[in-house]
C-alpha cells in the first residue's frame, strides 16, 4: 500500500491495510483484480496483458491449445434455469470459447461436505453430463475430496478445460481496434438477479431464469461470419467490469449507447428496487464481442441464427485509442463513465 501524503489536507479515516481476504476479493471486480495483480501474478504468472484473458493460449508442435480453470461456488445449488453442475461445465467451456478455442475436454474436481445427500450429487452430475453433451465436450478426469461438516458449503466444483484453436484465430482483450463494434449476445443481468431472487431472504419472486449456457457453438458461428477481435463472458462483475478490463488491456476508449443495452424488464425492475446497476450484475450465458466494423452486421446476423444469440444487439463501438475508459451515452443525451465493480455488489440503503 502506498504511503499517504496529503500535504495538509486529510480525510478522517486512515488507509486500510488490506492484508486479509474479504468477500469482495471474489466479486470479480477491482478487488479481485487487485489480488491477482498484487499477489498471484507476481507469484505465479506472467504479467503480459493477455494473461488477464479468460484462458491461456499455449503453442506446441505447431498446434495452439487453450487452457483454463474455474471453481464454482453458488448458493442455492439449484436455481431457476440452472444449477452448480451446469454452471461448472458452462463456465469453463465459455472461458475456452472466449479465446476462440473449440473445447476438447474438461476435468472436474469435487469438494464435498460431509453429509451431502447422494441425491443432490446425482442431480448435479446428471446436469453436468447434459451440459457437456450440449457443448460437445467430454469430461475426461476427476477428483473427489470430502471435508468435515461445516468446512464447506455442501458442494464446490472445480473444472479445468482444454481446447484447440483453429489457424488464424487471434482473440484477446488486448486486441480492440479503433472503430470496432461492440456486440452483446443477449439480455444483461439475468443470471445474477435470478440467483438473488432464488435466495429467499429477498422477499420477492421473479419468473426470471438464469441464462447459464455453453457459448462455444455461438462463438464458432461468429468466427465463421467475420473478424472478431475480442470476446469476453461478463460473469462476476458484469458487463461494466468486462468492458473496463478490455479498455484497459487494449488502452481503448469504448462508448456504449444506453438505449441499445438489452435488459429484460424484470431485471431492470429488480435492479431499480435494490439499487443495483445492472451493468454490474453477473451473466453466465452471455458474451460481449468487439468486431471489425465492416463485419459487424454479418456477425450479428450469424449470432441471431443461434440458440443463445437470438437477442444479440450492437451496443457501442471503440471510439479512441491511447486512453482506457468506457463511456456510456445516456438515453437523455448525457454521458458518464462506466468502471469496474469496486467490491461486493451491495444493495443501497434508501
Amino acid at each position: 500500500m502506498t504511503e499517504l501524503r496529503l500535504e495538509g489536507v486529510a480525510c478522517p479515516a486512515p488507509l486500510r491495510p488490506e492484508e486479509r481476504v474479504i468477500l469482495g476479493h471474489g466479486s470479480g471486480g477491482v478487488l479481485s483484480r487487485d489480488l491477482l495483480k498484487r499477489l498471484f501474478l507476481p507469484g505465479l504468472g506472467e504479467a503480459a496483458p493477455s494473461s488477464l484473458d479468460d484462458a491461456a493460449v499455449l503453442e506446441t508442435g505447431g498446434q495452439r491449445l487453450a487452457m483454463t480453470t474455474d471453481s464454482h461456488v453458488v448458493t442455492p445449488l439449484f436455481f431457476p434455469g440452472g444449477d452448480i453442475g451446469r454452471l461448472a461445465v458452462c463456465g469453463t467451456v465459455n472461458d475456452l470459447a472466449m479465446v476462440g478455442a473449440q473445447p476438447l475436454a474438461l476435468t472436474c474436481g469435487f469438494v464435498l461436505e460431509e453429509g451431502l445427500p447422494f441425491e443432490t450429487l446425482r442431480r448435479v452430475v446428471a446436469s453436468m453430463q447434459a451440459a457437456a453433451q450440449e457443448a460437445g465436450v467430454r469430461i475426461v478426469a476427476g477428483d473427489t475430496k470430502v471435508v468435515p461438516r461445516g468446512s464447506a458449503d455442501q458442494l464446490f466444483i472445480n473444472t479445468s478445460g482444454l481446447g484447440v484453436l483453429a489457424a488464424g484465430v487471434c482473440i484477446s482483450g488486448a486486441n480492440a481496434q479503433l472503430g470496432d463494434v461492440v456486440i452483446v449476445s443477449g439480455t444483461i443481468g439475468d443470471h445474477g438477479i435470478a440467483v438473488l431472487a432464488a435466495r429467499e431472504e429477498l422477499g420477492f419472486e421473479t419468473l426470471l431464469e438464469s441464462d447459464v449456457a455453453p457459448l462455444n457453438h455461438l462463438v464458432a458461428a461468429m468466427l465463421a461470419a467475420g473478424e472478431v477481435h475480442v470476446l469476453r463472458d461478463p460473469t462476476r462483475g458484469g458487463l461494466a467490469t468486462s468492458l473496463a478490463e478490455i479498455a484497459e488491456q487494449s488502452q481503448a476508449t469504448i462508448e456504449l449507447d444506453e438505449e441499445r443495452l438489452p435488459f429484460k424488464p424484470a431485471v431492470k425492475a429488480a435492479c431499480e428496487l435494490l439499487g443495483f446497476d445492472p451493468l454490474f450484475v453477473a451473466n453466465e450465458g452471455k458474451l460481449v464481442a468487439l468486431v471489425k466494423a465492416g463485419d459487424a452486421e454479418a456477425v450479428l446476423a450469424a449470432m441471431r441464427q443461434t440458440k443463445y444469440g437470438e437477442d444479440a444487439a450492437i451496443i457501442g463501438r471503440v471510439t479512441g485509442s491511447g486512453k482506457a475508459q468506457v463511456l456510456l451515452r445516456t438515453a437523455i443525451g448525457g454521458a458518464r463513465l462506466v468502471d469496474m465493480l469496486p467490491g461486493e455488489l451491495l444493495p443501497r440503503i434508501c
Binding site: 429477498l202 451491495l346 440503503i349
Partner: protein
C-alpha cells in the same frame, strides 16, 4: 416500467432543459439535499447538460456518509464480540472506522450479516436465542419507520436478545444548520422526495420563510429533477421563497401519518453528530427511555466511545456544499471507492463516489 420510463423521457428532458435555459438570467447555487439525487444527476449525465448558470452543490443527504466515525467504531466493537450476530444494510460494511471496517470484522471471524429488512434481524433473534442480535439502525426519515417497526416487533415478542445501534438522522435540522452557517452559498434546495413521502413537507415551510430560500420537493428521475430545478430557478428569478412539491405522485403536505406514529412510538429527537460536520442539535433520533432495553450502546457499554476526526478533513465542507470534490487533493489519488479515506467516497450515493464512478475529473 410505469412511473419510471415516463420520467426518463429524452424528449421531456430536452424540453425542460430548454425551458430552464430560457428562464434563467443569472447564476444560482442550488443544493440537492439527498445522495440519491446526486447519484441520479451523475448517473444520467444530467449535470453536464444544465445551463452554465446553475451551480449544483451536493448536500449531506447520504446516511452512510454522515454516520460519524465513533458510531462505526461502536459497530465494529459490538460486531467483534463472539456472542453477537451483527446485522446491517450492505452499504455500511465498507465504511472505514478508525482502524478497520465491518468487512474486516467478518474476515476476522465476526458474524456480520447484510440484511434487506430490519424485520429479518428480529427473526434472526427469535431463531438464535443463545445469540445477541444487533441491528445497525441508520438512515434518514426514510428508514426510520421500518427500523422503528423492528423495535416494536421485538418488544411485542418480548425478545431479550435483540438490540439496535441507532444512528438515525433527520433532514430539517441539517438543512437549518446549512442555511444558518457562516459562508453558506446555497440559494435554493431540492428536497428529497422519499423523505417527504414519510414526513410530508410542512417542516420546510418555516425554514423557507426564515432563511428566504426556495425549497422544492423532487423525485429521483431526470424529469423530476429538472422539474424541480425549473421551479427553483423560477422562484429565484422572481424573488419568491416558497416550498413547492414537484413529487405530487408520492408526497403530501402531512406525509404518511401511520409511519410517523411508529417513529414517534420508538424514537425521540436527540442531538446527533454528523461525520465531518459535528453535532447538530436535535438532528437525530434516539430510542425513547422505554426502549432502553433495546439500546445496543447501553447493553454493550459502548456509549462513551469517541473517535476524533481530523479538523483538516474537507468531507464536512463537501457535505455542506462549501467545497467541491475536485478541491480535495486526495480525490481519485489516495481516495477511491476501494480505499475510501472519507465517508462520501464509500456509499454509491456519496458525492465523492458518485463523481468517481460517473465522471472524469473535469471540474477543476
Amino acid at each position: 416500467m410505469k412511473y419510471l420510463e415516463e420520467y426518463r423521457s429524452p424528449a421531456k428532458t430536452q424540453a425542460l432543459l430548454r425551458e430552464i435555459s430560457s428562464l434563467i438570467t443569472k447564476p444560482w447555487v442550488i443544493m440537492e439535499i439527498c445522495g440519491g439525487q446526486t447519484h441520479a444527476f451523475l448517473r444520467h449525465g444530467l449535470d453536464a447538460l444544465l445551463p452554465p448558470q446553475i451551480e449544483l452543490v451536493h448536500g449531506p443527504g447520504c446516511p452512510v456518509c454522515v454516520t460519524p466515525l465513533e458510531q462505526i467504531d461502536k459497530a465494529i466493537a459490538i460486531a467483534s464480540r463472539p456472542e453477537v450476530i451483527f446485522t446491517s444494510y450492505g452499504d455500511m460494511l465498507r465504511v472505514p472506522g478508525s482502524t478497520k471496517d465491518l468487512f474486516a470484522v467478518r474476515a476476522d471471524g465476526g458474524d456480520v450479516r447484510v440484511i434487506w429488512s430490519p424485520l429479518e434481524a428480529v427473526q434472526l433473534a427469535e431463531a438464535n436465542p443463545d445469540k445477541e442480535v444487533v441491528f445497525f439502525a441508520i438512515g434518514f426519515e426514510t428508514t426510520a419507520p421500518a427500523n422503528a417497526m423492528a423495535a416494536l416487533h421485538a418488544r411485542q415478542k418480548r425478545l431479550r436478545n435483540f438490540s439496535l445501534l441507532v444512528a438515525q438522522v433527520r433532514v430539517p435540522p441539517a438543512l437549518e444548520a446549512i442555511l444558518s452557517s457562516v459562508g453558506n452559498r446555497t440559494q435554493a434546495f431540492l428536497a428529497a422526495g422519499h423523505v417527504c413521502a414519510v414526513m410530508g413537507f410542512h417542516e420546510y415551510l418555516p425554514l423557507a420563510k426564515k432563511y428566504q430560500a426556495p425549497i422544492v420537493v423532487t423525485g429521483f428521475e431526470p424529469v423530476d429533477l429538472l422539474n424541480g430545478l425549473y421551479a427553483a430557478v423560477r422562484q429565484l428569478e422572481q424573488g419568491r421563497c416558497e416550498v413547492e412539491n414537484q413529487y405530487q405522485r408520492m408526497v403530501t403536505l402531512t406525509g404518511n401519518e401511520a409511519a410517523q406514529r411508529s417513529i414517534a412510538a420508538v424514537f425521540q429527537p436527540v442531538d446527533r453528530k454528523w461525520r465531518g460536520i459535528g453535532v447538530i442539535p436535535q438532528s437525530g433520533w434516539g430510542l425513547r427511555p422505554e426502549f432502553a432495553d433495546f439500546d445496543a450502546e447501553l447493553k454493550f457499554e459502548v456509549n462513551t466511545m469517541t473517535a476524533p476526526e481530523s479538523p483538516l478533513c474537507i468531507a464536512g465542507e463537501i457535505l455542506q456544499g462549501k467545497k467541491k470534490t475536485s478541491q480535495c487533493p486526495a480525490f481519485r489519488k489516495q481516495c477511491t471507492p476501494q480505499t475510501p479515506l472519507g465517508a462520501p467516497m464509500v456509499s454509491a450515493e456519496g458525492a465523492c463516489a458518485a463523481y468517481y464512478t460517473y465522471q472524469e475529473f473535469r471540474h477543476d
